[in-house]
Amino acid sequence: MDFLNAIVALANYVLIPGITYGSQLAIGALGVTLVYGILRFSNFAHGDTMAFGTMITILATWWLQSMGVSLGPLPTALLALPIGILGCIVLVLVIDRSVYRFYREQKAKPVILVIVSMGVMFVMNGIIRFIIGPDDQSFSDGPRFIISARDFKTMTGLDEGLGIRTTQVITVVTAIIVVALLFWFLNKTRSGKSMRAYSDNEDLALLSGINPERVVMLTWIIVAALATIAGTLYGLDKSFKPFTYFQLLLPIFASAVVGGIGSPLGAIAGGFVIAFSEVTITYAWKKVLVYLMPDSLEPSGLVQLMSTDYKFAVSFVILLIVLLFKPTGLFKGQSI
């Protein structure tokens, strides 16, 4: 019994949150990695792209809700997602046309594009705040839990609860589907291969008859879709606040890099590394140990390696250690 309690406590406070957060980071990192791999710059506007797509989804959700449409037990937002994706695609394509294309033609250095993407980030940020305001928006409906911690306790009679949210399951399932689709697309389809070819050597891609503008467009479409999905999932699970999406950028970049930037598989792995290092290193093991140790040895302190103040710092240290031993990231980067 005690053993079970320990396992459940660990799952409830470490495993499940880690997996969910990891998936959220992973889908975000996929978008960053794709832009990096194919368009060749680190896109600082990605967080705000996510926020923009989510905003459209939220507006559509509200509209659907006002029409009385719902998805049964699932959040209505899933129904609104395609609209959000579409809106995001339109915006991103407009921005590419009006901003990025110029630098592409100029063959500007990537770092210029990085800075330009910061400019785009500011602008998108302004648009979002203007339309939906800086406040928190909650747009999830339907039952929040598949099983709540309280129900779990009564069901199993354990002392520890285990809560599983609907959104957590949706997030993980979506992440798996999205990654599988992306893989298939990049490695098996003509368009996917043309994207990789373009990313490798755009002059030569041109000489092979690949239309670079089409590749760029395709990339943005996929990136916008990924961003909207990531943003919406995150918003459903936590809540939507534009500023938070900007803050997500840092862990997302860290995920992309630790996995080997440019590698989709790496983005996934990176997301989980970052998420778990945040959650586990600063975890206070007291709760688990209380169940496992005989009474006489029960810890009096928290048995915490580091205070949570350092969670972000610690995840960066982990990242550094990974890189020192595996200098190309977990998966060899640059090989979309």
């Binding site: 302004g126 350092y310 710092a313 990231g329």
Partner: protein, 445 residues
Amino acid sequence: MSDTVKNSLLFALVFTLIILSGFFQGWNNAMFILNMGIISAIMALGVNLQWGFAGLFNVGVMGFVALGGLAAVLLGMPATPGAFAAGGAGVVLALLLGIGTLVAASFTYKRMPSGRNRNLAMMAILVFGFFAFRGILDPNVALIEAVNPAATGYLGGLNPGTDETYRDNGWIMLLAWPVGGLFAAGAAWLIGKAALGLRSDYLAIATLGIAEIVIAMMKNEDWLTRGVKNVIGVPRPVPYELDLQNSAAFVERAASLGFDPVEASTLWVKLLYALLFAVVLGIIFWLSQRALNSPWGRMLRAIRDNEVAAEAMGKDITARRLQVFIIGSAICGIAGAMMTTLDGQLTPGTYQPLRFTFLVWVMVIVGGSGSNLGAILGGFLVWFLWVQVEPIGLFVMNILTSGMAEDNWLRLHLIESAAQMRLMTMGVIMILVLRFSPRGLIPEK
């Protein structure tokens, strides 16, 4: 138009902007923009040295700036009476123990044959050392933080004065600036040793991470920095406005020049700062300009262009990079110490990557990476915009909406969000500048 003419015009333009802001918004404001502009320019020079000339992607500027700020506190503030006695020795012991643990671990790593035993021994040393370190550190830290927590609760600094008199030792801040550079250089040395061998993407993420770690420490190690409770009243190397206002001689002189004593005192103080800062900027600019137009600079550019070939041509790229990384970071540290001096306080919570890392990068790129003059221009211009886009935005909104009714909701919404449009305006300006000079305003030749 020759380059010199063009560059002079650009600088003239920026200074005209600053002077205009003086006419419209007051000279204090203009002087403040100038002072922060000089500090920004110094930071931009540091980053430009690393990126523009050696291709090192340092996105941890914030951390080095913050370390400079720490130096300002550790030199400028007086020691907290009783704090060292309370737990100082313990903290020192703990730190020594921590260092000892690391040394022992690396010694084991070098001396023992590799294998399971070595790993076990290392683990044992590290785990034991860590817990001993925490065991000694934590209670002593608690003791220090218990000393008058509302006002101090930290060790304080090296200022020889007491709580009442330390402000008289403002000269010590001039020492704090180079010390800030040293702090940053020390951190850069550590990072460089570990991360400069990595591919540069990873240097980027490493620096990003270290900056976060530095800030986390400054926020949470209250015994050293007072953490988020902030250190206020950092002394300054220039006189206080109030003292000037109370000095008869000064008031008289101001009056003879037709100035109101309050305004005269605030302007005079800022002017003194501006002179001090300008001297620092001048020295750093001169040194980097000389260095970069020499075989040393040529070697750096070669390394940036093609590492493999540069190494085959006998250049020790690791050593060179470490050198540049340290120097560039030190410059950021100096600027950080200067900024804390100007602010008069250390507030770790205000260190945000957006403001202290990415904005500096924008300065370098907009100015033209690889060009020192460009970095300086970028520093002034981007800082000016950062401060001025809000009034500009408000102004634009007012004009845009002037046709609408007083209580038109769109008008209200627009004016309401004017402050939030600050970042948007900034973004638009950045995109426009880079659109018309994609390699920066003063591109590398």
